[in-house]
């Protein structure tokens, strides 16, 4: 049964929270400033608890089961992270307190910067960006500022982006005023070096590389691609969404990446929150470090008396691109990521090893059941084609049917270069038994596709709602609760 909207529980005069009466004299309100109506719901606390609890039960999260959403690294979110972020000494800090009163918070940020530098092999890290895509924008702005300072800002306006890249790469480049040039993939799923070579000239601002790429493959042309772009004066941007494959395996900064964002909500176990908050710190090589977004945390050399008792402060990188958000970044997310990294230390390598082991194991179990377009050793994820030969069942149908088996579907229809793509990222926190159960469900769905295709094509059958009419949603555009009496505004042609 559908859950009503919270507005539909509203009864005039009902109250959820009572606030104390004013303990100071009441000041008069200015005339002509006040609003008349405030059309918010009027409900009780019990209404609220039951409503949102029921809504939660209509959701699927990692805590409920396997969530192999490719490129999203849906690993288990340790519960200790949540408790630590809620410690009053963190959760109740105002961002403008005197720095002397927040030394613990600054220490945590400083050490997180240091940890991320070490993991990525970079010279410096800024924690500022709010999410991966904002980290990308920051990194691209840094590349542009670097070229500008060398008198090449007007000339270097071309960003090279492989066709397997996340959509954020071209979108971020366009926001920074760059022209996007697509670079195709070769037959092994690597950057096509001939195509890259043809584009490498004095107008190149940079190349954005996702490695492992969105096919889950370590790019075999990586070192040559980096070399080609560097030789023509361009810089290398690393999309760090797939770092879960690389911790302790290799360091992008050492391999020639000039700037890279990390996704703390992917690699470092902070929860995805139903679509955020994430955090997208940016790491930079020596030459780009001065351009990092600020402020960043540093040890205040002047005020540090004893080396074992450093005093921390906020500083601005010398040629910073500026702020990408107010205050100091998603601190609550930093606490969680710090907790996670401290529980692993150098053994983060085992995390990446197990992530890659799980992906290759699941790939081995699915090979022969579904076509594998680029069949070689994968890293933390892999892509299969959601097709069952001899049937009209599609990736979308397989995804929906997986819900009936109790699994969250993989990422589907991405990357765009694989038709009917199913992109599967198991992560290291899943057991062999879970992977076996998933592989078995996938096998049974392939069987059903032949014996009872309708069952698959009309799935899911067991979820709170069945397939939803997305065309209708886009055509009628009901985007907020409207009491039946109110007229519906129409979108214009803009």
């Amino acid at each position: 049964m559908p859950e009503p909207l919270i507005f539909e529980y509203s009864v005039p005069g009902r109250r959820g929270v009572e606030m104390p009466e004013p303990d100071v004299p009441e000041a008069p309100f200015p005339e002509g400033f006040l609003r008349e109506d405030l059309p918010l719901p009027e409900v009780s606390e019990v209404d609220v608890v039951r409503h949102f609890l029921r809504l939660s039960q209509m959701n699927y999260g990692v805590d409920k089961g396997f969530y192999p959403l490719g490129s999203c690294t849906m690993k288990y979110n340790p519960k200790i992270n949540e408790e630590m972020a809620r410690l009053p000494g963190f959760a109740q800090l105002h961002p403008y307190q005197d720095l002397e009163t927040v030394q613990g918070a600054l220490a945590l940020m400083y050490h997180l910067q240091e940890f991320l530098k070490e993991i990525g092999g970079f010279a410096a890290v800024s924690l500022q960006p709010a999410a991966g895509s904002q980290g990308e924008l920051a990194g691209i702005l840094m590349i542009r500022a670097y070229h500008r300072d060398r008198g090449e800002g007007k000339k270097r306006i071309k960003m090279l982006i492989p066709d397997s890249a996340h959509g954020t790469n071209p979108a971020s480049s366009a926001m920074a005023g760059l022209r996007v040039v697509n670079i195709p993939s070769d037959r092994r799923g690597n950057i096509d070096l001939d195509a890259l070579r043809r584009e490498c000239d004095e107008t190149v601002a940079g190349l954005m590389i996702t490695n492992p790429n969105t096919l889950g493959l370590f790019d075999e042309n990586l070192m040559e691609a980096i070399e080609l772009v560097h030789r023509c004066g361009g810089l290398i941007y690393g999309d760090g969404a797939n770092m879960n494959a690389l911790m302790g395996i290799c360091k992008p900064g050492e391999m020639g990446f000039d700037v890279m964002h990390y996704n703390l909500h992917k690699t470092f176990s902070t929860p995805h929150g139903g679509g955020g908050p994430g955090a997208g710190p940016v790491g930079a090589s020596e030459r780009l470090a001065p351009y990092l977004p600020g402020p960043i945390v540093a040890i205040d050399r002047e005020r540090t008396v004893r080396p074992d008792e450093p005093v921390y402060t906020l500083v601005w990188p010398e040629r910073s691109i500026g702020r990408v958000r107010a205050f100091h970044g998603h601190f609550g997310v930093f606490v969680r990521a710090y907790t996670y990294i401290r529980m692993h230390g150098p053994r983060l390598r085992e995390v990446s090893e197990a992530a890659v082991l799980n992906a290759n194991y699941l790939l081995a179990r699915l090979r022969g059941i579904y076509p594998v377009p680029y069949d070689r050793l994968c890293k933390h994820e892999f892509v299969i084609m959601g097709r069952v030969p001899g049937t009209s069942v599609r990736a979308l149908d397989i995804s929906k049917r997986l819900m009936d088996y109790g699994f969250h579907p993989p990422t589907n229809y991405f990357p765009l270069i694989v038709p009917e793509a199913l992109m599967i990222e198991p992560t290291e926190t899943e057991s062999k038994a879970t992977l076996d159960a998933f592989a078995e469900a996938m096998r049974r769905i392939a069987e059903e596709a032949r014996s009872d295709p309708q069952r698959v094509q009309q799935a899911p059958h067991t979820t709170p709602v069945r397939r939803l009419d997305e065309a209708r949603a886009a055509r009628q555009l009901i985007l907020r609760y409207l009491p039946a009496s109110e007229p519906r505004p129409a979108p214009a042609q803009v």
């Binding site: 959701n59 699927y60 139903g274």
Partner: protein, 462 residues
């Protein structure tokens, strides 16, 4: 390892199925010279040890639950009912991702639809997105949106000088390589900054055929609320010039004051942190963004819409996705993907449980306490309070000694976290403090601050 479930035997079996001998064989495609570098990180801790370490770090701070806090300036301490965190900690909510698969994400989707509805109710607008990172980045996106809506033919954007300084900084960052001019925000004297209606006239005079948008804070960074009737005239002038009016709001203030939709704003952005989200040293917070239905196709970010399923039951989906980066790539309205869904959920629960009545009570308490504080400080020798314009819960005080000095004495000797040093925002405002009071400040705290300020007074000679 703690969160890796494999036994040694399972690992061997998995390697056998893959067809390799050792884990290391899975990494032969990584260039050998760079393979398996040492990770120079501190040794791992157990959960108990990590708790000790984090507790020690947390205790190295002084927090707003320990000391009375009168800091605002864009981040506010408000009462957070217990139900919010209780519900946020449902694993089904916080361990889910963006609701790409609506059949197993109706909880998130419906909550986001309710969030959009509440933001529309608060702002008086017709459509809201499912959140942006924070108020500052929402403003930057609103500016980009206005540039698109004026077809890139108008390169000028007028920023009111008393918009949050860090929000203005973020706008600068976003447009630094675009053909855009930001005007109006700096170069004003103390006297001019003290007269917001004069500033408004000055900015209106700069509207022309090159202007894409005028951005107005409501309340402004100094706490002041411009008269809605006057802003209605501003909106007319902006629209006559063919430009758009963007408002930057505090959502709690909107429980009292005429919402921007009523006085003609085209895009409304703001910081949603006051709606049930902890201070948390500056983030994660909640960017709010709303507009008119006519502009919905240029609104960035996720949007949830209502529809029906195969059996005709009401349900919710992400809609208008063709605006977004995963489909439009370089032609997308924005690069945003992950936003701050959980913070939007917190705000939705907050607004539900507070409701129409509770939110008004909170806003009124803020108003009364701030005015009580302002009046009492005004009577102190050496201090001057800016009271000539209506303000919400923040106001400016000229102090007899440098603000940093007063703040240091306040926390060292009185256990009080004083106001924001406005000299940091604008040199013209040096020697002025921005003080904030909310429902969290008791009369005793307020009186204690007034007493302390009185005792601190002007610096003594010699």
């Amino acid at each position: 390892m703690r969160f890796i479930p494999h036994t040694e035997e399972e690992r061997r079996e998995m390697l056998r199925v893959i067809g390799v001998e050792r884990i290391g064989d899975l990494f032969v495609d990584v260039p050998e010279a760079y393979r398996f570098p040492p990770l120079n990180l501190p040794e791992p801790l157990t959960e108990l040890e990590v708790r000790w370490e984090l507790e020690a770090l947390a205790e190295a701070n002084i927090h707003t639950g320990q000391y009375a806090c009168f800091l605002g300036a864009g981040a506010y301490r408000h009462f957070i009912p217990a139900v919010i965190d209780e519900l946020l900690r449902r694993g089904e909510f916080y361990t889910a991702y963006t609701p790409y698969q609506p059949e197993v994400s109706q909880g998130t989707l419906q909550a986001m639809f309710e969030f959009q509805s509440m933001i529309c109710a608060l702002t008086g607008m017709e459509v809201a997105n499912a959140s942006h990172y924070d108020g500052s980045s929402a403003l930057a996106e609103a500016v980009l949106m206005a540039l698109r809506l004026t077809r890139g033919e108008r390169p000028k954007v007028l920023l009111f000088p008393t918009i949050h300084p860090e929000y203005r900084a973020v706008v600068h960052t976003y447009v630094q390589h675009l053909d855009v001019r930001l005007e109006g925000e700096s170069g004003w004297t103390l006297d001019q900054l003290r007269r917001p209606l004069l500033l408004l006239e000055e900015l209106e005079a700069r509207l022309d055929a090159e202007t894409a948008a005028l951005v107005i804070p409501y309340p402004d960074f100094l706490g002041r609320v411009l008269p809605p009737s006057r802003l209605r005239e501003t909106a007319d002038r902006v629209h006559q010039a063919g430009a758009l009016l963007i408002a930057v709001v505090n959502p709690i203030a909107l429980a009292l004051f005429e919402p921007p939709g009523n006085w003609g704003a085209d895009i409304v952005v703001g910081e949603g942190q006051p709606l049930g989200i902890p201070l948390s040293f500056g983030g994660p917070y909640l960017g709010i963004m709303a507009t008119r239905m006519a502009f919905v196709r240029q609104l960035p970010g996720r949007i949830v819409g209502e529809t029906v399923d195969l059996e005709g039951r009401r349900g919710y989906v992400l809609t208008l996705s063709t605006r977004e980066q995963h489909i439009r790539r370089e032609k997308a309205t924005s690069n945003i993907t992950t936003n701050v869904g959980l913070m939007a959920l917190a705000a939705t629960i907050y607004l539900s449980v507070m409701g129409k009545h509770g939110l008004r009570q909170v806003a009124s308490l803020c108003y009364h306490k701030a005015h009580y504080l302002a009046e009492r400080i005004a009577s102190l020798p050496g201090y001057e309070v800016w009271r000539e314009h209506p303000f919400f819960h923040e106001f400016v005080v000229r102090t007899p000694r440098p603000v940093a000095e007063i703040n240091r004495i306040l926390y060292e000797d009185y256990q009080i976290l004083g106001g924001y040093d406005l000299g940091q925002a604008d040199p013209a405002l040096a020697g002025h403090m921005l003080l904030c009071a909310t429902e969290m400040n008791t009369r005793e705290e307020v009186d204690a601050l007034v007493e302390a300020l009185g005792e601190i007074g002007p610096a003594r000679e010699g």
